[in-house]
C-alpha cells in the first residue's frame, strides 16, 4: 500500500524536506545575526557584492530550470534526443553559473574578503599592512638564499639576513656569476634592503602603537615613554598615517609595482568577518548543491544516444532537485545581494 507516486520521487521529496531545513538553519542564522549586529557592511567597496552578476546568475538558473522541465516533458513524450539537448543546455548553464560565481569569488579573494582575513579594526588593518609587507620582504630575501648568493644560517630570520643583503652591495663577485648577473643582484639588493628598512620602521611603530611622526628607533621612544608623566602617552599610530606611508611606498622606488600588487590598502571593515562567513557558507553550500546537480545530469548525459525511458524517473527527480537549488538561490539573491 502507499501513495501513488514512485519510491524514488517520494524519497526525493522527503530529501528536499531535509534540505529545506538545512538551508533554513543557515539563512535563519544569517538573518538574526545580521539583525542583531550593530552594523553590517553593505557598501560595494566593502563587500564587493555585485548585484548585476547576482542578477545574471539568477537568470541563468531560471533558464536552466526551464530547460529541465522541458527535458522532463520530452522524456515523458519519449523524445529522448530533445531531452538530451535540453539537459546539455542545463549542464552548460550550471557551468556558467559556477563560472560567474567563480568570478565573484575571485573578486573577493583578490581583496582578501575572506572570513578571518578581513581586518575589522584599524589596528588589525595596520598589522595586516605590516604583515603583507613582511611577507614580501621575506620572499625577496628568499631569492638570495635560494640562489646561494647569500649563505645564511637561518634563512627564515629577516633580521639576520638583512645585513648580508646590504653587504651584497660591496661584496666580491662570486666566481659562479657573470659580472652582469652580479650587478643585477647588487641593484635589487639595494632596493630590497630599502624596502626591508621601510617595513621594519612600520612594524616597530605598529607593535609599539606609536605615531609614525616619532623617530623610528625603538630606543628613542622607549626613552620618551619613560619620561612621560602619569596618564600621558605618546600619540598613537593612525590608520591615515599608515595609508599615506603605504601610498608613498607604492608610488616611489623600484619595487613600487610589486608592492601595489601585493599589499592592500588598509581597509578595516566592522563585522567584515561575520559578513564574509555568512556569505561564503551560504553561497558555498549552494554551489556544492549545484555541483551535485551537475553530476546527476552528467549521469544521464553519459548514456548518450542510448538514453531511454528507464531514465524518465531519474530526470524527473534530478529535475526536482535542480528546481530546489534554483529556489534556494531565489532567496539567497535578495537576501545577500539586495538587502
Amino acid at each position: 500500500m502507499g501513495i501513488p507516486i514512485p519510491n524514488s520521487k517520494l524519497g526525493m521529496w522527503l530529501f528536499l524536506g531535509t534540505e529545506i531545513m538545512f538551508f533554513t538553519a543557515f539563512i535563519g542564522s544569517y538573518i538574526v545575526l545580521r539583525l542583531g549586529s550593530n552594523g553590517w557592511p553593505t557598501r560595494y567597496e566593502d563587500t564587493h557584492i555585485n548585484v548585476l552578476l547576482g542578477g545574471i546568475n539568477t537568470f541563468v538558473l531560471i533558464v536552466s530550470s526551464y530547460c529541465v522541465v522541458v527535458a522532463h516533458e520530452a522524456m515523458a513524450q519519449k523524445n529522448f534526443s530533445k531531452a538530451r539537448g535540453y539537459l546539455w543546455v542545463t549542464t552548460l548553464l550550471a557551468f556558467l553559473f559556477l563560472g560567474i560565481k567563480g568570478v565573484e569569488y575571485k573578486g573577493k579573494i583578490d581583496y582578501d574578503i575572506l572570513p578571518g582575513r578581513i581586518p575589522e579594526t584599524s589596528s588589525q588593518a595596520m598589522q595586516k599592512v605590516s604583515d603583507q609587507l613582511e611577507e614580501l620582504v621575506r620572499e625577496r630575501f628568499h631569492a638570495y638564499t635560494h640562489s646561494g648568493v647569500i649563505t645564511a644560517e637561518r634563512p627564515g630570520d629577516l633580521l639576520g639576513i638583512a645585513p648580508l643583503v646590504q653587504a651584497l652591495q660591496s661584496a666580491e663577485r662570486p666566481s659562479s656569476m657573470t659580472d652582469a648577473e652580479f650587478k643585477g643582484y647588487q641593484e635589487s639588493a639595494a632596493a630590497d634592503y630599502e624596502l626591508f628598512q621601510k617595513w621594519m620602521n612600520l612594524e616597530q611603530h605598529v607593535v609599539a602603537d606609536v605615531s609614525l611622526a616619532q623617530p623610528a628607533l625603538p630606543a628613542d621612544y622607549l626613552v620618551k615613554r619613560e619620561a612621560l608623566g602619569a596618564g600621558e602617552r605618546l600619540p598613537a599610530l593612525k590608520l591615515e598615517e599608515v595609508r599615506t606611508y603605504l601610498t608613498e611606498l607604492k608610488t616611489t622606488g623600484p619595487l613600487s609595482g610589486l608592492i601595489s600588487a601585493r599589499v592592500f590598502d588598509p581597509h578595516p571593515m566592522v563585522y567584515g568577518n561575520i559578513f564574509a562567513s555568512c556569505y561564503f557558507i551560504m553561497t558555498g553550500f549552494h554551489a556544492i548543491h549545484v555541483i551535485v546537480g551537475m553530476i546527476l545530469f552528467g549521469m544521464v548525459l553519459k548514456q548518450g544516444s542510448s538514453l531511454n525511458e528507464r531514465w524518465t524517473d531519474w530526470v524527473e527527480n534530478s529535475g526536482l532537485y535542480w528546481h530546489f537549488v534554483d529556489l534556494v538561490w531565489i532567496f539567497l539573491f535578495p537576501l545577500l545581494y539586495i538587502i
Binding site: G28, Y66, S123, K238, P268, D326, F333
Partner: protein, 128 residues
C-alpha cells in the same frame, strides 16, 4: 497506484519562465530605485516568494500532486519560518546589555574612518 503515464497536464512553461525573468528584473529594479530600506526589503522578499511559488507550483508540479504535498510541506514551512522567529528574541536583539558591538568598543578609529569616507560611500551607492 501505478505511475506509468506521466502527468498529462499541459503547462505553458515558457510563460512561467517569462514571469520568473520579469520578477528577477523587478527585484533588481527595486534595488536600484531609491526607496526606504524597509520597503525595499519587503518588496524584494515578496517577489522572491512569488518566484518560489511559481517554481514550486509549475516546475515542480506541486499544483498537480495529491494531498501528500500538504502533509510534507506544511510542517516544513512552519518550522522554516518558526526557527528564525524563535531565534529573534535572543540573537536578533538581546534582552540584556550587549557589550560586544565593536563599533564603539573596539575601533573608535574605524568610526572615524567611516565618517571620513561617508561622502565617498554615498557617492558610490548611487552609482551602483
Amino acid at each position: 497506484m501505478s505511475h506509468d503515464e506521466h502527468q498529462t497536464h499541459h503547462v505553458n512553461y515558457l510563460a512561467v519562465f517569462f514571469v520568473l525573468c520579469g520578477c528577477t528584473g523587478l527585484s533588481v529594479l527595486f534595488d536600484v530605485m531609491s526607496m526606504s530600506k524597509g520597503v525595499t526589503i519587503v518588496l524584494v522578499l515578496a517577489v522572491a516568494c512569488a518566484k518560489a511559488m511559481s517554481v514550486m507550483m509549475y516546475f515542480m508540479h506541486l499544483k498537480f500532486e495529491g494531498n501528500w504535498k500538504f502533509v510534507l510541506l506544511a510542517p516544513t514551512t512552519i518550522l522554516a519560518i518558526g526557527l528564525p522567529i524563535a531565534l529573534f528574541p535572543d540573537i536578533g536583539r538581546s534582552y540584556y546589555i550587549n557589550v560586544a558591538p565593536q563599533v564603539t568598543t573596539w575601533a573608535p578609529e574605524v568610526a572615524e574612518y567611516e565618517r571620513e569616507h561617508a561622502a565617498a560611500a554615498e557617492h558610490s551607492e548611487e552609482s551602483h
